[in-house]
């Protein structure tokens, strides 16, 4: 399995691929699958139980990182027009994947209502917006204005990549991009702006706020002209201390929220209300600080060349991370199956089966993706006469499979 991993061998003098981003992305993808299956016992062991952020934040940060790395490199080598076109192509794939998953979702709702012998549920719970107004629901889904439960990350990802198209050249002016992105985040939070949702209110994940995390990742991943590794945030004892404090405080808030919420009443009312309204929709500053602190600490705790990144145990996650898009989409689809399975039976044999099968499926998608990519390249290395598959991939490096 390890033979399939890109960037396994370190070439002296070249920065090489940062396997840390891959492995943590793989883990985040696995956590997203777990967290998308309510009632899954493993859901008690994921990041959200110990930190104010969860796999969504990690995924968006690392998606930004991968996008900065791949499209930043494309920008430097082929210019903005080409890299924008590559981004749009990726967007198209994501959009089609989302529409497919939407169709799967509507089928799942109908099937599971029938399986529980309670079609009355559909009506009683108003889940059947699709049944009430199918044509309108379809239109709204295509406009990304109708996002059923658990189908909210892909639309976020799509809009984030769309924002990156005009912002690509700004990767070369990190302070300007960070300033604009941060100012946008503050304005959006202060004015309570969000993209509209058909069923009322805004998107579950507000892209206008989440972009700040995505662009942070993009700037961290962008290595100007590939001269060296992407610039890391330097090691500063004070910053390390602050990050530790932020995470410990975050752990405290999570534990109080999960196990001792009655203690909130003992706090002054404004503090209690603040802690009770740490929203995920608009990426509350506490959540943003939490993921950035975590990334900073992990980035310094795990060196680039850490041996375990190349170990047998890490290999499945590295492969998942290197083929993030198919693994992510498959994960959303697998979550449907997992939810249906746990709806039928949620005792331990089924829990075990769902989790083993889920992880195995994600890993095999990573393995197949890596194998296919390797064969594809092995059969047509540096082939100028066959520009169709190589045209995009060769210069962009890891674009198509990373983001």
């Amino acid at each position: 399995m390890r033979g399939l991993i890109r960037g396994m061998e370190t070439v002296p003098g070249k920065p090489g691929r940062d396997l840390r981003a891959d492995v943590f992305r793989g883990i985040a993808l696995w956590f997203i699958l777990i967290d998308h299956i309510p009632g899954n016992w493993l859901g008690k062991l994921t990041l959200r139980n110990v930190a104010l952020c969860d796999a969504t934040e990690a995924f968006v940060l690392l998606a930004g990182y991968a996008a900065g790395l791949a499209y930043g490199a494309a920008l430097d080598r082929r210019g903005w027009t080409f890299s924008a076109a590559a981004l749009l192509r990726r967007l198209g794939t994501l959009y089609v994947a989302h529409v497919f998953l939407f169709v799967v979702f509507t089928a799942q709702v109908g099937y599971s209502a029938a399986a529980l012998e309670s079609p009355a549920y559909l009506d009683e719970m108003h889940l059947d917006v699709f049944g009430e107004q199918p044509y309108l629901a379809l239109l709204q889904a295509l406009l990304l204005r109708f996002q059923p439960a658990f189908l909210d990350i892909l639309p976020l990802y799509i809009v984030l990549l769309l924002m990156l198209v005009p912002a690509l050249p700004l990767l070369r002016r990190p302070w300007l991009l960070m300033g604009l992105s941060g100012a946008g985040y503050v304005v959006v939070r202060l004015l309570d702006l969000n993209l509209p949702n058909w069923t009322g209110g805004g998107w579950f994940f507000n892209p206008l706020a989440w972009q700040v995390l995505f662009f942070t990742g993009a700037l961290l991943g962008y290595a100007p002209r590939r001269r060296g590794p992407a610039p890391a945030v330097p090691f500063r004892p004070l910053l390390i201390g602050a990050a530790v404090v932020a995470l410990v405080l975050g752990l405290g808030v999570v534990l109080v929220g999960d196990y001792g919420e009655q203690w909130l009443a003992a706090l002054p009312q404004p503090v209690a209300e603040l802690l009770a309204t740490i929203d995920k929709t608009g990426l509350h500053p506490f959540r943003l600080i939490s993921i950035l602190a975590l990334a900073y600490l992990v980035g310094h705790a795990v060196p680039r060349g850490a041996q375990w990144l190349r170990s047998r145990a890490a290999a499945p996650f590295v492969l998942m991370g290197q083929h993030g898009l198919p693994v992510f989409c498959a994960g959303i689809f697998l979550a449907f199956l997992g939810r249906l399975a746990l709806e039928m039976d949620d005792r331990w044999p089924m829990q075990l089966a769902v989790n083993l099968a889920g992880l195995a499926a994600l890993v095999s998608i990573g393995v197949v993706g890596a194998w296919y990519r390797m064969r594809e390249r092995g059969e047509a290395p540096h082939n100028a006469t066959n520009p169709a598959p190589v045209g995009l991939r060769a210069p962009v490096g890891s674009t198509t499979t990373v983001t």
Partner: protein, 253 residues
């Protein structure tokens, strides 16, 4: 006044034994921690001591007891009967308002209208189902709950919130956990007890006490009746705990 004191003693003696220690499977063998109020219900305690208690029950469809054998089997009606049976001298009035698919904003408006019409000592507010099921705006729900709770406090009444019903179908098809967590934290920030219907119903389903989703077609009505009765018992236990808390828990903890 002497009568009131006697009644209080009766209430205390009868009602304050902790649910867990009570023999005979109190509240359908609910996990005791789910019957703890973690907050005081002072207005309810005062009203009970004074001998008259007015309760307002507001929510979406479930307060009307859909799928039960009749209106008398809905949990608010069962709660009224349980309190009457236990404290016969109490002048008790229970007003129930609700309709299918009402959002938090709509039930909040009903509460405001009812409180303007007549005073109540205790408001039992079932919230969050419509939002979770239809994927409505989470922040909007929290804001409405905040406003509603402030309004009830201003009217001098206590509140107990009730969260979503447990359902495997809902769990598989709607993002309920996000709404449940928001509700729990919002209530906690206000020091308001929550009857955690989701957790209770899940515990009952796992213990085979009552599980309407797994009940056969013939047993469905009986199971729904039992569920409503169990909910009423759990609500009664929670209210008693809140009243005890308000009275400083003589002889407890």
């Amino acid at each position: 006044m002497t009568l009131g004191a006697g009644r209080v003693l009766l209430l205390l003696g009868l009602l304050l034994a902790s649910p867990a220690t009570r023999a005979g499977g109190m509240a359908c063998d609910s996990p005791p921690e789910l019957l703890a109020s973690h907050a005081a219900l002072p207005a309810t305690a005062r009203a009970a001591s004074a001998g008259s208690l007015r309760i307002l029950v507001v929510g979406s469809a479930s307060v009307l007891g859909p799928g039960t054998s009749g209106p008398g089997a809905a949990w608010p009606a069962r709660l009224e009967a349980l309190i009457r049976a236990r404290v016969p001298h109490l002048a008790l009035e229970v007003v129930t308002r609700g309709a299918r698919g009402l959002t938090t904003a709509e039930t909040g408006a009903i509460i405001a209208a009812e409180l303007a019409r007549a005073p109540f000592n205790l408001v039992l507010w079932q919230v969050g189902t419509a939002e979770a099921v239809r994927g409505l705006d989470l922040d909007e729900m929290v804001e409405q709950v905040n406003e509603g709770l402030a309004r009830i406090v201003a009217a001098g009444a206590d509140t107990v919130l009730m969260d979503q019903q447990f359902s495997r179908f809902m769990r598989a098809n709607a993002n309920v956990d996000a709404y449940r967590d928001a509700l729990r934290l919002t209530a906690a920030a206000h020091g308001v007890p929550v009857l955690r219907r989701w957790d209770l119903m899940q515990a009952w389903a796992e213990a085979d006490t009552v599980d309407i989703e797994r009940a056969g077609r013939q047993e469905k009505v009986a199971a729904t009746d039992k569920l409503n009765d169990c909910l009423a018992q759990a609500m009664q236990a929670l209210i008693r705990d809140g009243v005890a808390e308000a009275r400083g828990r003589p002889g407890q903890r």
